[in-house]
């Protein structure tokens, strides 16, 4: 049997999927709406709704005697939030988050630069593997592993002792604020673990941003007389800035909200995450817990606004 085309226009397929295909081809917006509706509903109702509920909670207060929530609008909880001990928690957490972000960016940039500019083929695959590999194992396992590494009897101390450099660790631990009895119970330990755990979230966005910078822009800058340092400052850095900002949003907000790392590795002083955990759990002070969570939201909002004003997103 020979196939003869009867008409230049092929007949519609009689199946439901055939009819659907034609329908969606004619009304692409319907398909888009079907795809977008579930995530938009999720984002709009579940996410924004609970965020709004959270915000609302922070304007209530708790009755100190009965422990019951007093559903009347008040700023008392925020007054409590700004008390000296709570402010201390906020300052500690924000400083830690800022430092973790800064150091992560400094460490991540050269790695991301290598991956974007030089790594090809299997080296690129190896790079992705190396960056992502830590994310495959449990977060808790990694933190406990670090506790062992940093402990007084841990491998780091042992290694430094072998090199006769133990005095270096002791000198560092004798410093105020960053020091302590051992690395695993000092802010230094908390800091090291934070930087380690969030590193992939800094490397990947910077790498993606650098990947999009055409190589000939670097050549053009050099051609016009820009030294490598000037090229970095005026071309590479501004064009990588959206990636750095994206990465810093991850490291900054993750540090602001984390309550497990400072609990396992570090001093006994609280971070925001731990305060929220304690307030909503044992203390049962939901309004104060809510007020604490508002802090990272406000800080991130202010940070993004500043980044935008500085032109971080101009190159997008």
């Amino acid at each position: 049997m020979t196939i003869v085309a009867e008409s230049i226009i092929l007949p519609q397929r009689r199946s439901t999927s055939g009819r659907l295909s034609d329908f969606f081809w004619r009304h692409p917006h319907v398909l888009l709406a079907i795809f977008l509706a579930p995530p938009l509903l999720w984002l709009g109702i579940v996410y924004l709704g609970s965020l709004f509920a959270l915000l609302l909670q922070s304007f209530f207060s708790i009755d100190d005697f009965s422990g019951l929530i007093n559903y009347e609008f008040t700023l008392a909880t925020y007054r409590q939030l700004l008390s000296e001990s709570n402010l201390d928690i906020i300052i500690r957490t924000v400083s830690m988050a800022a430092l973790v972000t800064l150091v992560s960016a400094l460490i991540a940039f050269p790695i991301a630069y290598y991956a974007a500019r030089y790594a090809r083929g299997k080296w690129k695959a190896l790079f992705y593997l190396a960056v992502m590999l830590p994310l495959w194992s449990s977060y808790l396992v990694k933190i406990y592993a670090w506790k062992l590494i940093l402990a007084k009897e841990g491998i780091l101390t042992w290694f430094f002792a072998k090199l006769n450099l133990l005095w270096l660790i002791d000198a560092w631990l004798s410093l105020p604020v960053v020091g302590g009895n051992s690395l695993s119970v000092s802010y230094t330990g908390t800091f090291i673990v934070f930087v380690y755990v969030w590193m992939p979230f800094m490397i990947l966005p910077i790498q993606a941003a650098l990947e999009r910078v055409p190589a000939n822009l670097i050549e053009a800058s050099s051609d016009l007389g820009g030294t490598p340092a000037q090229t970095f400052r005026h071309v590479l850095f501004p064009l990588a800035l959206p990636g750095i900002v994206a990465g810093s949003i991850f490291t900054f907000s993750l540090t602001l909200g984390d309550y497990i790392i400072p609990q396992i590795v570090g001093s006994s002083r609280l971070f925001i995450g731990q305060a929220v955990y304690a307030q909503q759990g044992t203390a049962g002070n939901i309004p104060l817990a809510a007020a604490f969570t508002v802090v990272p939201i406000v800080i991130m909002g202010a940070y993004l606004w500043m980044a935008k004003r500085m032109g971080a997103f101009d190159a997008l």
Binding site: L217, A220, H234, A315
Partner: protein, 331 residues
Amino acid sequence: MTAVLFDNVSRYFGAVRAVDRVNLEIAEGEFFAMLGPSGSGKTTCLRLMAGFEQPTGGHIEIFGETAEGVPPYRRSVNTVFQDYALFPHLSILDNVAYGLMVKGVGREERRRAAEDALAMVKLPGYGTRRPGQLSGGQRQRVALARALVNKPKVLLLDEPLGALDLKLREQMQEELKTLQKSLGITFVFVTHDQGEALSMADRIAVFNEGRIQQLGSPEEVYNRPQTRFVADFVGSSNVLSEDLCRRLGLKASFASLRPEAVAIAPPSDGALSLSGTVASQSFLGATNRIVIDVEGARIAVASPAARGVPAVGSPVTISFAAHDLHPMEDA
């Protein structure tokens, strides 16, 4: 004075000889074109001049000074990139002023210089825009202004007109040539478009497989190609085989014959002639391109359109002057 000197310069990428023992000398104030197909080594030569590549062997001098090991930012040489390479995060003014900025020229002075440069390329008042808001032709001019504002000794242009449409390209060719004459800067121009090279350059180097096939004025390269490659690449000359050459009384193994030097007519005094049949014909506007089959060899004739066209398959006699037949090396 010699602006750029290549002494036996090679650049290998692994086993690939991108540039293979190239010698050339570009005079100051010259408009020099490097012509060749893609992968012929012309762009690598340009990048060697800019300093983006370092030679594997040989010696490069720019205005008498050794260029090997000198980074691009220490060369008084500027480049107009093929896809312009404008900085997307900077305004047009900041793009043009970039070279002055990194050299530490004051804000007011470099703004004035950049505005002058923009006026020179006929884009006055475009300073506040972003590269993304400009058309291809405008971006090309900005790239030119950005290079020229530095007053380079040598301006390198890497297929700068490749992305423009025909009309704009012809206009820019005209403007580039005028600009070069008025500024007196040495222009080194890379192109794969033989028409562009012929119309703009003072001298042309024809590249193939990493080597210079022929170096000379546009007239020399066009009228007297020295190798088969040049004859073929520059304006599609007829290449006459050894057989035909011998029949015409020529001792060379190959000879070139330009299509426009051939007439479909019986020979007049002293002219050479061949007879064959019309194989095909096509209308090119000012001329007709008629291909004549001479015992298996195909010879193209550019015949004025006003003259009639013989039917395909009809026998014809073609004739040409002996001095239009140029012997070539076998390459």
